[in-house]
Symmetry: C2
Subunit: 448 residues, 2 copies
């Protein structure tokens, strides 16, 4: 089969089953392609309409005037093989089948027909029975909801909802995604093909994967070994419990397999394993933006004593070392900090700390403490936090991880500023520490 370029770099796209009714999927996808700012040719196909959303409608795929790269099918399942055939005959080499009604409800013959039609023309197929895909470098959102913000995270998901959640969180936080692909029934394109694609994609810096079952364990391991050096991978794989496994079987007919075995594979291949959707997102932020510290020694620098304790408890649980400060570092810090600060690890700068105090403290500690990385907890409205972290990242060799909490409107503004400048910020000390735990367990390149 051919490459996935006809899908991700499509210069023209047909939406077959485009609809004028705003609540129909065939309308929403067309609208999202238009509103997403796609620069290629867009062809709505619907024999019963003249125009939809201001675009001329075509009676069939064959009736489209220009050349065609990609077809998006939102028609009843029965009609899909014919659509693929027509699109293939017109030269299209990519298809996204949103429609359900195939193998997932027992219609395996129809799915085989779809595959045969695609194979005849060398058309690569995403789906069927899926939520489409979004690829921000081509501004092509053939999915929902509409997400436009470009960023370092690629999301590959057997659940459309998990993918959509990741995308919208990333957009709301002004982090963005390079892409999102829903796997659906995986009649052709699998998570394997997509991991390979995004491993070579220049915009992508981390791959987030939600899968319910892995068909070929050996091939998966071989691929992950090959990808390892290029891009870090975060995996969320449910079916950890007996009832969870049954639910997996009923959802996608996948076999969840032994969770212990999969856990071992993750450890061996240094895949960061998330235990829930929140961690899938947090770990992706960490691995997409941070470098792996050279060791596990963390110095917590905080304006909030309480958050320092919460970070310490979580670190102990994650095997991260909140090592006591050495005398030399203590002396150095006492020289540069007001006497009200509690000089230790956590290093409590107290509630009146400003951004400058963080800078001074971390610079002194970077020279003297032996910490492999710093967790900065901004626990009050502290303007200038973003600039302080930026300057620290430029001036010291250790990695800097940021948490912002309890800072009201100042926090909101500073967090968005940090995200826009490539600094991930976590909303609680516990989430920050767990994300660092994932970073340390991953293939992310080391900071040096």
């Amino acid at each position: 089969m051919g490459s996935l370029d006809a899908i991700f770099s499509a210069r023209s796209v047909a939406v077959v089953g485009a609809s004028a009714s705003p609540d129909k999927t065939g309308h929403i996808i067309l609208r999202n392609i238009i509103d997403g700012g796609y620069a290629g040719a867009i062809y709505p196909v619907n024999p019963k309409a003249d125009t939809i959303l201001g675009l001329k409608c075509h009676a069939s795929v064959s009736a489209i005037p220009g050349p065609l790269d990609l077809v998006v099918a939102v028609v009843p399942a029965k009609a899909v093989p014919g659509v693929i055939d027509e699109a293939g005959a017109k030269g299209a080499r990519g298809a996204v089948v949103i429609s359900g009604g195939f193998g997932e409800i027992g219609n395996t013959d129809l799915e085989a027909e779809l595959k045969a039609a695609a194979a005849r023309h060398g058309v690569r197929v995403i789906g069927p029975n899926c939520q489409g895909f979004n690829y921000t470098p081509n501004r092509l959102c053939a999915s929902w909801p509409l997400v436009k913000a470009g960023g370092p995270i690629a999301v590959i998901s057997q659940s459309g909802t998990v993918g959509a959640a990741m995308e919208t969180w990333a957009e709301n936080e002004q982090i963005g995604v390079s892409g999102f692909v829903a796997l659906g029934n995986k009649s052709d394109v699998s998570e394997m093909d997509l991991v390979e694609f995004f491993a070579g994609d220049p915009t992508t810096r981390v791959i987030a994967l939600y899968v319910e079952g892995i068909r070929d364990g050996r091939a998966f391991m071989a691929l992950m070994r090959a990808v390892a050096g290029r891009k870090p991978v975060v995996v969320l794989k449910p079916g950890r419990t007996e009832k969870g496994k049954k639910a997996v079987a009923s959802h996608t007919h996948s076999i969840a397999g032994s969770d212990e075995v999969f856990q071992g594979v993750c450890r061996q291949l240094k895949l960061a394993r998330a235990s829930d959707v929140t961690e899938l997102y947090d770990f992706s932020k960490a691995l997409g933006y941070l470098r792996r510290p050279a060791g596990r020694k963390m110095l917590v620098v905080t304006s909030s004593g309480g958050c320092g304790i919460l970070a310490t408890d979580t670190a102990e649980q994650c095997g991260i070392d909140v090592a006591p400060l050495e005398e030399r570092a203590k002396e150095e810090l006492k020289k540069v900090l007001p006497p009200t600060c509690v000089v230790g690890n956590p290093l409590d700068l107290t509630g009146d700390a400003n951004a400058e105090r963080y800078k001074v403290a971390v610079q002194a500690a970077a020279r003297t403490s032996g910490a492999d990385f710093f967790l900065l907890v901004f626990g009050d409205p502290i303007p200038g936090a973003c600039e302080a972290v930026q300057e620290l990242r430029a001036s010291i060799s250790q990695e800097v991880v940021a948490c912002y909490i309890g800072g009201g409107e100042v926090e909101t503004a500073e967090v968005l500023k940090m995200h826009r400048s490539g600094i991930p910020v976590f909303p609680t000390p516990e989430r920050a520490v767990r994300a660092v735990g994932a970073l340390l367990a991953s293939h992310t390149p080391e900071r040096s």
Copy 2:
């Protein structure tokens, strides 16, 4: 000592150490009291200014013309006992000492002086060394950041940052708080006094407590037993690990004590114990808004197969029973649902589900399934979700718990609508299930 009414129902408040510089705490607190809409008399006290923020400034507490209920001190520690004396002489019976510089840095004599001054006049004191308090029924935010949204959650916190985070999350989600009190050094008012106050407060439906150490275990248990029948309580208590305990000692000189013992106390007294700040918030939402289901049988109703699996895994881990559907319920559901739905537990309504389908499904299942409660996962942009849940809550006897994820702008609007109408919504299936686990373990009144 007298009641806390002089603090929470104050009809007049003096801010001693009010400042004209926008970045000073003495400015921020005055501004928040004004902007919060406080209806009582506000007296800035600062001998060097004529007016601050448009209000006439007074040279001293004694120089304030009218009667005085409450004094907020933001002056150097040394000056605080004198301020309390003056305020007490003027008839004030409440004080909030923001200033640090007392016992927490070894100045125990000064803290004793402060206590003696307060005792002389029967003044109740919050702090010193704290982030103040906020009480929305009196629209009095003598703290930061400014939070105005009233709601069912009372936050009592030894960490100002944890309290501020809870308040701002509740405000952003349009849930709101009844109040927030920072404990500081607890020279007088303790978490015990505050639990008692909020247990009797008509606006409060759940008490969220962050404490690092409990001074008198027996008294704590007696109080919690007394409160049990009246209000559910959620507790976050760090110091679970050895290094965490050390950090506790260094932050507030508290003794964290044995975590196993505390865990046992929580179980015995049915306090919902949170393991991190996120859970403190989620559990408070659940206990403040939901009724305790009569049993542990949960039916998951979802538009997202993946989220149904994630909910099932988490339920198994929390001891919640995702029981298989009985034949009678299956038959009933098949009658009312399209054939593409996967009738089981999870009940997968599939990605094209609208709000009506949720209503029909849950109503059928409420009659036939034997489930004690329903978890509704809205995993797509589903308009009308709020109305559907409202109608269900009015028409069936079982509790309904909502999760909304991956729904883009529709989600944002529906979640806020639900919160405004008293329905808590959780952002991931895992967080929703864990919150129900806390609900089941708590003293929240049962749904009948």
